[in-house]
């Protein structure tokens, strides 16, 4: 019998080589004979199993591994089969805990070792420690799940397509906007969901991406289930494989109608915010005429025969009614969500109307108004309500900045292509560190419940929409100056004349 054990024993050099190979293999190796007794184990096995050679070699497999493991893996049967058929066995996973060590996961395989007669002489058991790899796999899976959830719950449209433009998946936002479920559109060309007029553009963008060109954002629309278009702004990025080939494209879109609604809401809440501040003032302005009306009526009730009273009281009632009605009219003009209409406006007239509306607020704050108008100022095309809103915000801010008594200067003048409107106050001013933030939405130094911090951001938006600019100059303790520039000839003129 010419078995391996004899070879190893007989040939010193060969034995050395084998031992070298065995001990450098990063797997645990056991060699067993037909009685399932271990005849050889490598160093890796001794380290991992915390066993010694003396209680390993010559022992049976079922002594070396715990009973449950032997039963669970059916390893003894498998080894017997290898002896019988001479075929390697791919084994599988097994969890093995050496005494005093945490359990580790191994991937084991069985292979026959033949003698020169092609008979199975021994079977080799190879065990690879896959614990780390397995944990890593678990982590990857969890990360993937997490990412999927992020994609699913994103407010943006997220679509992935293959290089042919066929949909791989889209997220919940697209389902909501279009009414099509992701599973139903899978494999369909994305083009089916775009307007026909956009298809050329879209195809050339995809072509560009496949040629690894950078593409910029694109505004178009997507079709919903009813065939209606929903405005979307798109951003594209490609997914590449390890060789750098584009294997897919991720498209992120933002529903512009939602943004438009949000903007409208923002404008509206700004109105409500400044409304809240002036509500008290308005109450006073309306309750005064009401008090006059009511007391005149009470007097008439008692002394209806008094000629003098009969002459005077109705007149007073009517005057007071007119006054109250006028206040309500102004309030409505301001508060109504009016359409965006552009007309030729006289800036001075808008400022004066705003001041009139705020008269009460100004007198409560003991704010004196100092007007310095340039009467050569031309009329410009603008939205009256919006400008009124801007002026009101700036005056309210100035009022808030004036703690005791103060002056608000309002100046207008013409420069080359612009009209300039300057609001200046001698209030508490703005510290340098805040200057860059005052136009941010929700930035406020007002106490909770008083300011929403929307006033200036809305004003900024409105002036920008008119093609103008708004700037601030201020120092802590030295008052503030807001300068508005509005173009004399602006984009609205063209639209008006169409």
């Amino acid at each position: 019998m010419n078995n391996i054990r004899n070879d190893i024993a007989n040939n010193g050099a060969y034995k050395k080589l084998c031992n070298g190979i065995m001990s450098s293999i990063p797997s645990s190796v056991l060699i067993v004979d037909e009685q399932l007794k271990v005849i050889l184990a490598n160093r890796n096995f001794y380290v991992k199993s915390k066993r010694s050679e003396s209680n390993t070699v010559g022992r049976s497999i079922s002594e070396i591994f715990p009973k449950v493991l032997v039963e669970y893996t059916g390893i003894t049967e498998k080894i017997k089969n290898v002896f019988k058929f001479g075929e390697p066995n791919d084994g599988g996973e097994m969890e093995y805990r050496a005494p005093g060590l945490p359990a580790r996961v191994y991937y084991y395989r069985l292979a026959p070792l033949m003698n020169s007669l092609s008979e199975v002489e021994n079977v080799i058991l190879l065990m690879d420690d896959v614990t780390e790899r397995k944990h890593l796999g678990e982590r990857v899976r969890r990360t993937e799940e997490h990412l999927a959830r992020v994609v699913e719950s994103a407010n943006d449209i997220i679509i992935s397509i293959d290089p042919e433009g066929k949909i791989i998946s889209w997220n919940g936002t697209v389902e909501r906007i279009t009414g099509h479920r992701s599973v139903d559109v899978k494999g369909q060309p994305l083009l089916n969901f775009l307007s026909e007029s956009d298809s050329d553009n879209f195809s050339s963008i995809i072509k560009g991406l496949l040629k690894k060109k950078k593409v910029s954002a694109w505004e178009s629309s997507i079709l919903n289930k009813d065939g209606e278009t929903v405005d979307v702004s798109w951003n594209f990025s490609s997914i590449k494989d390890e060789q750098g080939n584009v294997i897919g494209i991720v498209i992120i879109g933002r529903d512009l109608t939602e943004r438009k609604v949000l903007e409208a809401k923002l404008t509206q809440s700004a109105k409500m915010a400044s409304l809240g501040t002036i509500a008290g003032g308005i109450a006073h302005e309306i309750r005064n005429p009401l008090a006059i009306i009511d007391s005149c009526a009470q007097i008439l009730e008692k002394q209806v025969d008094n000629k003098k009273i009969r002459a005077l009281a109705p007149e007073k009632i009517r005057n007071a009614t007119k006054r109250a009605a006028e206040i309500v009219n102004n309030l409505l003009k301001f508060a109504r969500q009016s359409e965006f209409t552009i007309e030729s406006v006289d800036i001075h007239q808008i400022i004066d109307a705003t001041l009139e509306l705020m008269e009460n607020q100004l007198s409560i704050q003991h704010a004196k108004i100092n007007k310095n108008y340039d009467f050569n100022l031309p009329e410009i095309y603008a939205n009256r309500n919006q400008l009124q809103q801007v002026f009101m915000n700036l005056i309210l801010n100035a009022c808030n900045a004036i703690r005791e008594k103060g002056t608000i200067g309002i100046q207008t003048y013409c420069s080359e292509n612009f009209i300039n409107i300057v609001f200046e106050d001698n209030g508490i001013g703005i510290p340098g560190k805040y200057l860059s933030r005052i136009f941010d939405p929700f930035f406020t130094t007002q106490p909770v419940g008083r300011g929403t911090g929307l006033g200036l951001s809305i004003s900024y938006g409105i002036i920008e929409q008119h093609g103008g600019s708004i700037d601030v100059e201020s120092e802590s303790g030295k008052g503030a100056r807001f300068i508005i520039k509005l173009p004399i000839r602006n984009k609205f003129i063209r639209r008006e004349n169409l």
Partner: protein, 134 residues
């Protein structure tokens, strides 16, 4: 202080001409005399010359405002009863509640108002004064 029993002087302070007219017209034939002025400064001048046990005071006045005027009035004559008269505040508002608690204001009157309520308030003050002074 038997003066009070005869004819009490009531001072109404409001910047609305028509409201002043209404007070004077409605309370012409009462057991008290009504006098009106249009701002806080004028009210303080009047107080230096005469005693006004009851003052109906508008909260929002041109020049020194109602709250400030009330404090000055209380310094000149701590016995004066001030009825704060306002269209700007509600009774629940902090400013009013604080004034009522500290005794700066005797009562609160919101615009629009009932002359009968005003009358009741004035009569109550007279009654309390009589019992206090007899």
């Amino acid at each position: 202080m038997t003066d009070y029993k005869k004819r009490i002087k009531v001072l109404a302070v409001d910047d609305e001409y028509d409201l002043c007219w209404a007070f004077e017209t409605r309370f012409k034939k009462e057991i008290f005399d009504i006098v009106t002025v249009r701002n806080g400064e004028a009210a303080i001048e009047m107080l230096k010359k005469n005693k006004y046990p009851i003052i109906i005071l508008d909260s929002k006045l041109p020049g020194i405002d109602g709250f400030e005027a009330a404090k000055i009035i209380k310094i000149i004559d701590p016995d004066t009863y001030i009825i704060i008269f306002t269209g700007y505040y509600d009774r629940e508002d902090k400013e009013i509640q604080e004034g009522l608690k500290s005794g700066l204001f005797y009562d609160f009157l919101c615009k629009p108002f009932e002359f009968d309520d005003v009358k009741r308030m004035i009569k109550k003050v007279i009654k309390e004064n009589i019992s206090k002074n007899s």
